[in-house]
Amino acid sequence: MLSLTHFMLLSGALFAIGVTGVFVNRRHALVLLMSLELILLAVNTNLIAASHYLQDLAGQAFALFVLTIAAAEIAIGLAIVVVVFRSRETIDAEDLSEVRG
């Protein structure tokens, strides 16, 4: 018998994988973006599971908004990666210290 706890544990594990990815690959900008995507996917799964088990469509509406903002974020993030790569020939996040105060 599936319950809300099953789905929430699954998305919790997915969230943890995303956070681990952020820590492990702190220097590679593209993997950072991928980990962010995984984190947002976990959040969305959580919202949709709660929406299903509480019989409330608000969760799905919120998931749609999160999806929209995630798409906007990834478009801007990839554009920044492309610009940085063009000017620096590297996307190592720890080398980007030129604007440090």
Binding site: T5, L9, L14, L30, V31
Partner: protein, 198 residues
């Protein structure tokens, strides 16, 4: 119901494995492809939760557009990226943070009064998830919907403005200059006689 449980465990295993591969693989193209696999299995799980519209949206829009854009950028950048040497190793910190988070989430979720025990009834046959979501979205959340549209527009303009590059050595049309041309700049009227050869 047992079949759904089986599907949940199948897709859940694939999802976690693909997500782990996406953040650990050294080959960036393989990592991006595993990310696509994990999104696809997540869409299957959403289908299991009777969120058909969002599930199809995830496959069509997210995998079809966003993640393919991701793959495109990965292939463009990856060839020039030397293997990143590690100065510091964050693995221990990362595992500790992840373990603490999973433990906390598990403790919260396994509390006896957390999960609603009532199983939702399966939706009737004529129920349309798309229609229901639309009727909520265009009434209760109309303002948020407009704001999301504006955010997407800003993202489009921002992405183009960031990556647009004008090369001075390229010959290209400048529509602003073209439309500002006046008659006097281009046209010279003569009296009909041929001009002397110069």
């Amino acid at each position: 119901m047992a079949f759904q449980t089986l599907l949940f465990y199948l897709f859940g295993t694939v999802l976690l494995a693909a997500a782990t591969a996406a953040v650990t693989l050294r080959n960036m193209v393989h990592a991006a492809l595993s990310l696509i696999l994990s999104f696809f299995t997540a869409a299957m799980l959403w289908m299991l939760l009777e969120a058909e519209f969002l599930s199809i949206l995830l496959v069509l829009v997210y995998i079809g557009a966003v993640l393919v854009l991701f793959l495109f950028v990965v292939m463009m950048v990856e060839r020039h990226t030397p293997t990143i040497h590690r100065r510091r190793n964050y693995r221990i910190v990362a595992s500790a943070v992840a373990a603490v988070m999973v433990a906390e989430l598990g403790m919260a979720l396994l509390a006896p009064d957390f999960s609603p025990t009532a199983q939702p009834l399966p939706a009737p046959l004529e129920y349309s998830n798309t229609k229901a979501l639309g009727s909520v979205l265009y009434t209760d959340y109309a303002l948020a919907f407009e704001a999301a549209a504006v955010a997407l527009l800003v993202a489009i303009v921002g992405a183009i403005a960031l990556t647009l590059r004008v090369r001075p050595d390229h010959h290209r049309q400048n529509p602003a200059r073209q439309s500002r041309v006046r008659k006097q700049d281009r046209l010279r009227l003569t009296d009909g006689r041929s001009e002397p050869p110069c």
